[in-house]
Symmetry: C2
């Protein structure tokens, strides 16, 4: 039974890897039983048994995207010794993750936010929950940075979170529309935001 479960887990992982590739290139709309079954080399019946319906497969694909980002960026960031290093790692790591084509279309969640913004249902609900969770994480990490460095002048945490997420949204489109300059502009913008926490006063000018 354990061998059978291990094989089942491996098949599920392979299915989700293929679904991630498809979603990253074509949007979550491309995650159909037909396309995923063909890419993963399983039957549509297998998908129906493993996931239930197409929407459940789309939700599992979103969860797999978050899991992949956690493995590659968030978990290593959380192992950093200071809050400022955690913040730098998670913010700049996002750019490396997208630039490194871990998925062929960059950040799947950022793209899905736009794709599903007007399509009410469980996929949009999950994206709204992810969005809240990501914002809470950034807010809490920035607060922790401010506790490490209590002498700094007041920081507008909401504005900082808005700008970090805005740079990501801009960069995720720019890189793939052959607009390398805008991608690098976004990364420099985030670097400048993070530099507001630098102890060197020369580096702590307001972000441009």
């Amino acid at each position: 039974v354990d061998g059978r479960r291990a094989r089942g887990d491996a098949t599920r992982a392979r299915i989700l890897r293929e679904a991630l590739q498809i979603a990253s290139r074509q949007g979550l709309d491309g995650v159909t039983f037909g396309q995923v079954a063909e890419a993963a080399g399983v039957s549509k019946g297998h998908l129906a048994q493993a996931f239930g319906g197409r929407e459940a497969l789309q939700l599992a694909t979103l969860d797999a995207a978050v899991e992949l980002f956690s493995e590659r960026v968030l978990n290593p960031a959380n192992a950093e010794p200071t809050a400022l290093e955690r913040l730098r790692h998670v913010c700049l790591g996002w750019f490396d993750y997208v630039e490194g084509r871990v998925l062929p279309g960059g950040c799947l969640i950022t793209a899905a936010n736009s794709e599903f913004r007007t399509i009410a249902g469980p996929v949009r609900d999950r994206l709204i929950a992810f969005r809240q969770r990501r914002r809470n994480y950034l807010r809490a990490t920035i607060q922790a940075v401010l506790e490490e460095r209590p002498s700094r002048s007041p920081v507008d945490v909401d504005d900082l979170v808005y700008r970090i997420l805005g740079d990501e949204a801009a960069a995720n489109v720019a890189l793939f529309l052959e607009d390398r300059a805008a991608f690098e502009h976004a990364r420099r913008s985030t670097e400048a935001l993070l530099a507001t926490f630098d102890s060197d006063p020369k580096a702590s000018t307001k972000p441009r």
Copy 2:
């Protein structure tokens, strides 16, 4: 013959109005002959005759989105007497256009940029061309503002254009993900950018 042409033009306009509605809610991927024919009350054969193929219909839908934005925002902006008023009108008019649900999903071009970022072909090529045109328009308008007000301290035009387009990208997702606070944050951010041109020194602090 003129009557026949007028009826043809009216039908084409109705088809594109329906295609815009569909694209705005479901993405350009929803612009299929089947869906558009049903919504516009014409046959698929009529669409094939009028547009050629599905991709041509998608391209015509993008052009119609630009045309609609021009009618509602860009042309009125261009009628403003000063470059600063043109810039204010076109930037803040974008937020009013999206907020007013001229299309049910906000700015179709902004959404299509994300949707087609990894799908090579004529649709993506056209989006890249629109992107360049929009950026050139903003850059030229900002240059004209600077000529009207030559005494101001140096302005980083590329950064300003990056931030204006970034606020739009953030806002177009936020409004429809029930994140009104982020939508208003984006609008205030653009207002603060525009305030850098204000002649009142108190209003010309760097944007937060």
